[in-house]
């Protein structure tokens, strides 16, 4: 007995270690899926708002900076209530209304421009108008090129900033009462009372960002935004929220998308403007004296007893709904509802546009084109290598095609992006005719050879067939390309793309789905080839041999005997290829234009889920809505590839069980 107990101990320990490690690996794998879900789910949770312990010292109205109500900087001249100011890195402007006579208001202000070479601020000549209306609100738009002035009779005017000589007469327009464009989700009901005649002046407040204002009228609160309609900028109605007469204070948030409201009840409520719905409310003990925002996710109220209550909410948990992710939405500044992916900007007031539909469309577009290109090549090669080639040679040809798999996709993307992309689009017709010609020549040559030359099959040359065909194919490609060029000149007046655009009105871009599809298709050839070839080869040769002995041709044997058996494996191969094409990142980053277009057109650009993850994840703030939506995109990608891969695995297993072929 040599050290039996110790050996048994080691044996047991090792078994434990091995089992434990496998469990750990399993957990890690499941953990990956779990983590994606973990980060994504809070996005859909209803808004959680927690009351903070009140600050012990300080006066929020003075100490805490409210980005849209910040204390006026030193260079602002007038500090009266209606003063508006604007600053970006290179321009500083302030403007205020000044009553000069009983019925006349004059706008006064200053305009400073930063002189880049000397780094000094210089005063610019600036002509401002005079008019005979009472001003209840004025503000700069987001660009600082216009001032929006609201008067007490439900009219507004747009004052241009760049006028240096005498200002022309100010044009006043009535505030919009009806909606322009299609009804948008979240607009609330449009009952007759809401489109009533202009009431006595409701209050006007600016939403952060300078793109929209809220107008409070009888029974409704309307969001008005500046829109460019065929060259004219005007204020239009974006949506309305039914207004309760018991509302007292109304404070828009610094990010412009939420509204803090107190009611007579007394209670405090939080409204989401883009969804036009109440998302939180809390009854209060007494009506507050003042409310306000500390930051875009913190707000406060001041009680009569000089105490403060502050609340904070999690920006990443905001009751996202699927509408925002998938449906067209109306955004500030846009004339029509659109599906947009444009998540980030430097301004907090920027409306994050997080619609994933353009990304999904892009992902599938690229994968489809790749599949169309790869399938004939991969499956055709698989048939040849797996069935027509004798077994002994197979082991030499198979790796030759699989070498493609060894090329890192970065390199394939780099080559296509740098060397091929500039010429590919113009060569499309030539490529097409070249391929058609090569195939026709090959087929005709085959039939001619069979008919006239040599008669019996020379099996010895069969494995060399692809190489023997090289000169044939090359010549046909060259010939086909020149025919193609001539054809293009003849049919399309010189260029297919130009013809499509000019004559047919199809919008065309150079970095489009076709270019990406060619690069991507090349990449997935080995993926499809491997599995398809294995499937075809796994069918025992004896079956086909029997068919051949009975007088069927090779192709008939293949089609009738081998193909039905190998079919599930081939389908599995195609699915694996599709799954791979869905998730490929580097080629998309290098070759595609990454423009998130909401269109299925193959000659327009695209942006995929994978490329978006690679580009945007490093710059998103952890636990922000953008971060979580990106994880949602990752989850969708994961689920899609899981779907296709599992289907492929199931098919492979089916082949294994039912046909006894080892895949």
């Amino acid at each position: 007995m040599f050290a039996t107990r110790r050996r048994e101990f080691v044996d047991g320990l090792m078994a434990l270690l091995i089992r434990g490690t496998s469990l750990m690996v399993l957990l890690l794998v499941l953990g990956m899926l779990l983590q994606l879900v973990w980060v994504t789910v809070p996005l859909f949770e209803p808004l959680s708002i927690a009351e903070e312990p009140a600050p012990l010292t300080g006066n929020p109205e003075q100490d805490w900076s409210l980005s849209h109500r910040a204390v006026a900087p030193a260079w602002v001249g007038d500090h009266s209530v209606h003063t508006a100011w604007f600053e970006d890195g290179r321009r500083r402007l302030w403007v205020a209304p000044r009553r000069i006579k009983h019925n006349e208001i004059q706008l006064v202000g200053e305009y400073f421009r930063l002189d880049a070479p000397t780094n000094q601020w210089r005063r610019q000549p600036w002509a401002l108008p005079t008019f005979g209306r009472h001003v209840i609100h004025l503000g700069f738009d987001s660009s600082g090129h216009r001032i929006v002035v609201f008067d007490g009779t439900d009219h507004y005017a747009l004052i241009k900033v760049n006028v240096s000589s005498k200002y022309p007469k100010v044009q006043w327009h009535p505030l919009p009462h009806a909606f322009a464009g299609a009804d948008a989700p979240g607009t609330g009901t449009t009952s007759p009372e809401h489109t009533a005649q202009s009431s006595a002046s409701g209050r006007i407040q600016a939403l952060a960002g300078g793109r929209s204002w809220i107008s409070l009228g009888q029974g409704y609160l309307r969001q008005l935004h500046l829109v460019n309609r065929s060259g004219k900028i005007k204020l239009e109605s974006l949506r309305s929220i039914p207004l309760d007469t018991s509302w007292e204070f109304i404070e828009p948030s610094p990010s412009g998308s939420r509204l803090l409201v107190t009611t007579k009840a007394p209670s405090i409520q939080l409204w989401d403007i883009s969804g036009a719905e109440k998302i939180w409310q809390q009854p209060l003990e007494a009506s507050p004296v003042a409310i306000g925002w500390i930051d875009q996710d913190r707000f406060y109220l001041r009680n009569t007893g000089q105490g403060y209550l502050t609340w904070r909410f999690d920006e990443g948990r905001q009751g996202f709904n699927f509408d925002r992710l998938f449906q067209p939405m109306r955004y500030e500044g846009y004339a029509e509802p659109v599906r947009l992916w444009q998540p980030s900007s430097t301004a907090a007031s920027f409306e994050q546009k997080l619609n994933v539909v353009p990304l999904l469309i892009g992902t599938f577009k690229a994968a489809f084109v790749a599949q169309i290109i790869a399938m004939p090549l991969a499956i055709g090669s698989a048939i040849f290598v797996g069935f027509f080639t004798p077994l002994s040679i197979r082991n030499r040809i198979k790796p030759a095609v699989e070498i493609i798999a060894a090329f890192p996709s970065v390199v394939i993307g780099a080559v296509v992006a740098l060397w091929l992309a500039p010429y590919l689009l113009d060569a499309l017709v030539s490529i097409f005719t070249a391929i058609i010609l090569s195939i026709s020549v090959t087929v005709s040559l085959a039939m001619l050879w069979r008919r006239y030359a040599l008669g019996t099959y020379s099996g010895r040359w069969l494995p060399l067939m692809p190489f023997l065909l090289i000169p044939v194919i090359l010549l046909s490609i060259a010939l086909g390309a020149s025919i193609g060029r001539g054809l293009e000149t003849l049919l399309f007046d010189g260029s297919l793309m130009e013809w499509l655009y000019i004559d047919r009105g199809v919008s065309v871009q150079h970095r489009n789905a076709i270019i990406v599809g060619i690069a991507l298709g090349f990449t997935i050839i080995p993926v499809i080839f491997s599995v398809a070839e294995d499937a075809i080869n796994a069918v025992p040769r004896s079956a086909a041999a029997g068919s051949l002995a009975l007088g069927a041709s090779h192709w008939q044997s293949f089609r009738e005997i081998v193909l039905p058996v190998a079919a599930p494996g081939i389908i599995a191969a195609v699915m694996l290829g599709f799954g791979r094409a869905l998730g490929e990142t580097m080629i998309l980053l290098l070759v595609a234009g990454n423009s998130p277009i909401d269109s299925w057109s193959l000659v327009e650009g695209l942006r995929t889920l994978s490329a978006t993850l690679a580009i945007e994840l490093p710059e998103s703030h952890v636990s922000s809505a953008h971060y979580r939506v990106l994880f949602l995109a990752a989850l969708m990608l994961f689920a899609l590839t899981l779907l296709f891969n599992t289907a492929a695995q199931l098919l492979k297993r089916y082949m294994r069980r039912n046909f006894g072929v080892q895949l």
Partner: protein
């Protein structure tokens, strides 16, 4: 066989460590991490190469993913210096202040401009700001109209020189400071159109514009070379005179001129890390300033004084 393999691997490992360790200095004391603008990446790389020769003990890491990464990295402490091709926005400053409790220190280090480029054969003579807005944005906040076709800008006859008259606009991705700068100054704070092709670097934009007749792009000055044509920009005047030749980068009121910045995070009662201070002092030297023109930038006037006063306040 396993034994031999294992020994050989160990051998290779130690050799690698030994030799690569010998390549670089052993006594590195501090790491200087510069995160941010891709526009400045070439300049920073060149600067750090020269700086390493002067201070061999320095360890430098440059991560140029885009200006938007700089405030985050600076606030978290992952970067010693933040490079940005635009000023930090109010929101970024607010976030920084909330996270750190103070505002970052800013130093302008170079002057740059965004130039609009088109293909050499494109006959366009100048573009006004509303026209640029019409090409690039979905919102046209500058007040003009949308443009999707070169014939709208040139007329059918002159546009005939461009084979495919569809306008293809090339720009940077949202993480880039140039993206934000262009958005605020050329798009009048509007949104980009989703059709704008987003490329990760100016080199790619210049390549695309040089290859495609119908392309237009914006690049930093250093990337304008003989392969592309620079388009002067007309300001939107009262009357928008069509005879205005437009401004080129370098002209006094070129609307897309900008300053490149380095940001530092220095708590009010503390001093900046010595390596960062050394680097800043180095930036003011003639050796570093000579580098600017090679990269296509111009110098900030009185940079030496600015840096001296900054260094005086935040460095030992």
């Amino acid at each position: 066989m396993m034994h031999h393999l294992r020994r050989r691997w160990l051998h290779i490992l130690w050799m690698t460590v030994f030799f690569t360790g010998c390549e670089r200095d052993g006594g590195a004391t501090e790491t200087l991490v510069i995160t941010g603008s891709d526009t400045m990446a070439g300049l920073l790389t060149a600067w750090s190469a020269v700086f390493s020769e002067l201070s061999p003990d320095a360890v430098i890491e440059i991560q140029a993913s885009g200006s938007a990464a700089a405030p985050i990295a600076l606030a978290e402490g992952t970067a010693s210096l933040g490079a940005m091709s635009r000023a930090m926005s109010a929101a970024e400053l607010a976030r920084f202040q909330e996270q750190r409790g103070y505002l970052p220190t800013v130093i302008p280090v170079a002057n740059d401009a965004l130039a609009l480029i088109v293909h050499i054969d494109n006959p366009i003579s100048s573009l006004s700001l509303p026209e640029i807005d019409g090409i690039y944005s979905a919102t046209q906040f500058c007040g003009g109209r949308a443009y999707t076709d070169w014939r709208e800008l040139l007329g059918a006859q002159r546009a005939g020189q461009i084979g495919l008259p569809a306008i293809e606009a090339y720009g940077r991705a949202s993480i880039s400071g140039s993206y934000g700068f262009f958005k605020n100054n050329a798009l009048c704070a509007g949104d980009y159109s989703p059709r704008v092709v987003e490329l990760p670097g100016f080199a790619a934009i210049a390549d695309s514009v040089a290859d495609l007749e119908n392309a237009i792009g914006y690049v930093s000055l250093g990337y304008v070379d003989s392969r592309v044509k620079l388009v002067p920009v007309r300001l939107e005047g009262d009357d928008g005179s069509a005879n205005d030749p437009g401004l080129i980068p370098g002209a006094p009121s070129y609307p897309l001129a900008r300053t490149l910045y380095l940001y530092l995070s220095v708590p009010p009662d503390k001093k900046a890390p010595p390596l960062a201070c050394e680097f800043l002092r180095f930036v003011a030297t003639p050796v570093a300033q000579d580098r600017l023109s090679i990269e296509g930038f111009s110098a900030v006037p009185d940079l030496e004084e600015i840096i001296q006063s900054t260094v005086f306040h935040v460095c030992d």
